[in-house]
Amino acid sequence: MNPLLERTWRDTGFFSAINHKTIALRYIVTSFAFFVAAGILAALMRLQLAVPENDFIGPDLYNQLFTVHGTAMMFLFAVPVMEAMGVYLVPLMVGARSIAFPRMNAFSYWVFLFGGVMLFGVLALNIGPDTGWFSYPPLAGPEHSPGKRVDFYAQLITFTELAALLVAIEIIATAFKMRAPGMTLARMPLFVWAMVVTSFMILFAMPAVMFASTALIADRLVGTHFYNPAEGGDAVLWQHLFWFFGHPEVYLIFIPALGFMSSIIPTFARRPIFGYPAMVLALIATAFLGFGLWVHHMFAAHLPELGKSFFTAASMLIAIPTAIQIFCWIATLWTGRIVFRTPLLFVLAFFFILVAGGLTGIMVASVPLDLQLHDTYFVVAHLHYVLIGGAVFPLFGAWYYWFPKFTGRMMSERLGQWQFWIAFIGFEVAFFPMHTLGMDGMTRRIHTYPEAMGWGAANFISTVGALMIAASGVLFIVNVVRSYRRGAPAGDNPWGADTLEWATSSPPPSYNFDRIPVLGSEGVVVTGLAEKSREVLITTVVDAMPDHRLAFPNPTIWPFLSAVAVTVMFIGSIFTPWAVVWGSIPIVVGVTLWFWPRKDETREHLALEKRP
C-alpha cells in the first residue's frame, strides 16, 4: 500500500465516485439484479405454461412479462455485464492506473441504472411494454399499440445504448493507449482483445438500434411515417435496422465470453493458450462476419431469394472462426495438466451447450427449415442454448474466477460445484424439451394452450427445469454473500494465473499498481509519474512505447447530475416532444460544468507541465 497514491486516487463520495473498479462493481451488481428480476419474470411465465389452459397469468400481463424479460436480459444484463467486466479488468490487465475517461464511465453507469429502473418501474405500474423485445411495427406502431408502453421500450433502448457506446469508447482508448510499456499488441491478453473487438462492434452496431427506436418513437409521438406503409414508409425497414444491430448484439455478448474462456482455460490447464495468433484473428473475423448475418432473422419476411441464400452462406461461414477457437481451447486442455475447479466447470459447459445451440443455429440458418420453425419454441430453445451456454455459463465461471480479485476472498468450492450441476442439469431440463415443442408447432409468446395439443408434458418438464435454474441462482447468491463475509482469504494470485490483474493485491488498491511493470524486461518498473496528482502513462498503440504523461481528472458530482438531466429529458420526451428542447438545457449546463477546468486542478497540472 502506497499511502500517497491512495490519497491521490481514492474516491471522495458516493455520487462523485469515478474509480473504474467501483463503477464496474456497481455495474456488475446492478446488471445482476436486473438478471435476477428478469429471471423471476421467466419463472412466472414457466409457471403459467406448466399446465394447459392455465389462468394464473392473463394475456396482457403475459405480454408484458415476455417483453420485459427479453428486453431486460438483452439490454440491461447481457451487454452491460460484459462491458462491466471489461471496465473492471481491462485497465488491470494492461497495467494501467485507471480506465480512460473515468468521469464518462461514471456517467454511463448512472444512465444505465436510471434506464433500467424506468423499465421495471413501468412494469410494476402495469404499463410495461408488451410487444416483444424486438417490437416490430406495425404492432408496435401508433395504431396498434396506443398508450405509452412502447415508448418506454424505445427510450429504454436509448438509455442503454448511450451507456454502452460510451463504455465501448473507454475500453478501446484504454486498451490502445494505456498499456504498460512493452505490452505490444501481440502480447495483449486475449480477454482484452475480446473486449476491444466487442467495443468496435458496439460502435458500428448500436447506432442502428438507436436510429430505429428514435424513428419508432417519432412515428408514435410526432407523426412521422418511417414504418407506416400508408404514407410511403415500410415496416420491414424496422426489421433491417433492428437486426443490423440485433445480430451483432449476439456477438457483443458472446465475444467477451470467449475472452473469459481464453483467460480461464490456460490457468486451469496450467499452460499458455494454444494458438494465440489464430485466436486473435478468429475474434476479428467473427466481428466482421457478425455484421453479415442480420437477414437470417428475417427469412419469413418478403425478401429476394438470392439475398436469403447469401445470408445462409454467411451464417454457415461464421461457424469457422468459432470452431478455430474451440479447437485451440481443446488443444490447450488436451496438452495441459487440468485442475478441475468451479470456474473451469462452468467454462466446460460451454462446449456442450453452445455447440448444441450452434448446431440448431445451422438448422435455422437454412431458409426452408427456418420457415417451418420461425416463431416457434424451437427458436426459443436455440437462442437460450446460444446465449446461456455461450455467455451466461462462462460468465458464472468468470465470477468464480475473478471474485477473489474483486473481494480478496475465495468463493466456496462446494457450493460452487452444487450450483454448477444444478444449473447445468436444470438448463437441459428446461430448454431441451422446447426443441420438440417447437417442432410440434408450439408458437412463441402464447400465454396458454389447449390440452388437445399434447404439449402439456414437455411444458411441465420445462417448468421443473426452470425452477432448478432458479434454485441454482439462489445458491449462487448465498455463496456470494457468505464468501464476501467469511470466505477464505485469497491472496494476490490464488489460481496461479499469469495476467497482470493477479500481480496486484486483492482487492486492488484505488491506483491499481504501485509499480507499473515494463513487459519484456524482467524486473524493470516505471518511475517518474507524479504521485500527488492523478498522472498516468500514455503509450503508443502498437508497440506500447512510452509516449507521454497525462493528468487524469478528479472525482466530481457532474457526471451524476448530467445523467439525472439526461433521464429527465429522455422520460420527459415520452410525454411531450418539447422535452427534447427544454430538457436539453440542464444537460448542456451539466456537461459544461463537468468539463470546465478548476483553478486548483489547473495549477496542479501546470506544475507538472512539459510542452511536447
Binding site: 480512460a100 465501448a168 469508447i169 436510429f211 417519432a218 412521422t224 516505471v526 517518474g528 459544461t592 497540472h605
Partner: protein, 196 residues
C-alpha cells in the same frame, strides 16, 4: 531495482498520440454510422416508392449557401487548429471567434433551410427521412458550435494550461467531420431527387 524513468516525457501531445483523439474518433465512428444509416433509411424508403420525391425537392438556395459557408469555414477552422498546435493563444482566440461567428451563421441558414424543404416531417415517409437526416446533421452542427463557444470563452477567461490547446485542435477535427459529413447528405437530399 531497474527503472524506466518517464518524468522527462511531455504532459500532453497532439493528434493520434492523444487519448482524447481516440475518444473523438470513437465518437466520429458512432455519429458517422448513425448518419450513414439515416441516409440508408432515406434511400430504402425511396426504393419502396413509385414516385420520388413525392413532393417538390428542397429549394436549392439556402442549402447551397450553407454548403458554401461550411466549406469556407474550413479555412478559419484550419487556422485555429494550427494556432492551437503552435500554442499561440492570441491567434487561437482570433480564429476561434471567426469560427464561432461562422458557426452561428450556418445555424441561422440551417433554420432557413428547414423552411424551404417543401415537405414536413409528418407529410409522408419521404418527409420523415428528409427531416431526420437534416435534423441529425443539425444536432452535430449545433453541438460543435456550442463546443466552440465554450472553448472560446475559456480561452479568454481561463484557467488555461497547455493541454487546452489539444482540446482546441480536437474541436477543429470534429468541425471537419461536421463539414465533410454534410457533403453526402446534401448530395443525397438536394441533388439525387433532381437527378434520379
Amino acid at each position: 531495482m531497474k527503472t524506466l524513468d518517464v518524468s522527462w516525457l511531455p504532459s500532453y501531445k497532439y493528434g493520434h498520440h492523444s487519448l482524447m483523439w481516440w475518444g473523438l474518433m470513437g465518437l466520429i465512428a458512432i455519429e458517422g454510422t448513425a448518419l450513414a444509416l439515416a441516409a440508408a433509411a432515406y434511400l430504402y424508403v425511396w426504393s419502396q416508392a413509385n414516385v420520388w420525391p413525392p413532393n417538390a425537392p428542397p429549394e436549392l438556395f439556402w442549402g447551397t449557401v450553407n454548403v458554401a459557408l461550411l466549406l469556407v469555414s474550413i479555412v478559419p477552422n484550419h487556422l485555429a487548429k494550427r494556432a492551437a498546435e503552435d500554442g499561440d493563444d492570441a491567434r487561437l482566440r482570433l480564429w476561434l471567434v471567426v469560427c464561432l461567428l461562422m458557426g452561428l451563421a450556418m445555424l441561422a441558414v440551417r433554420a432557413l433551410e428547414f423552411t424551404a424543404l417543401n415537405a414536413r416531417w409528418d407529410t409522408n415517409a419521404y418527409g420523415s427521412a428528409l427531416w431526420f437526416l437534416l435534423g441529425l446533421h443539425t444536432v452535430h452542427l449545433a453541438t460543435d458550435v456550442y463546443d466552440t463557444a465554450v472553448l472560446t470563452v475559456l480561452m479568454f477567461t481561463g484557467p488555461l494550461e497547455g493541454r487546452r490547446h489539444v482540446d482546441a485542435a480536437e474541436n477543429a477535427i470534429f468541425w471537419y467531420f461536421v463539414v465533410y459529413a454534410w457533403i453526402p447528405v446534401y448530395a443525397i437530399t438536394y441533388w439525387m431527387p433532381r437527378l434520379g
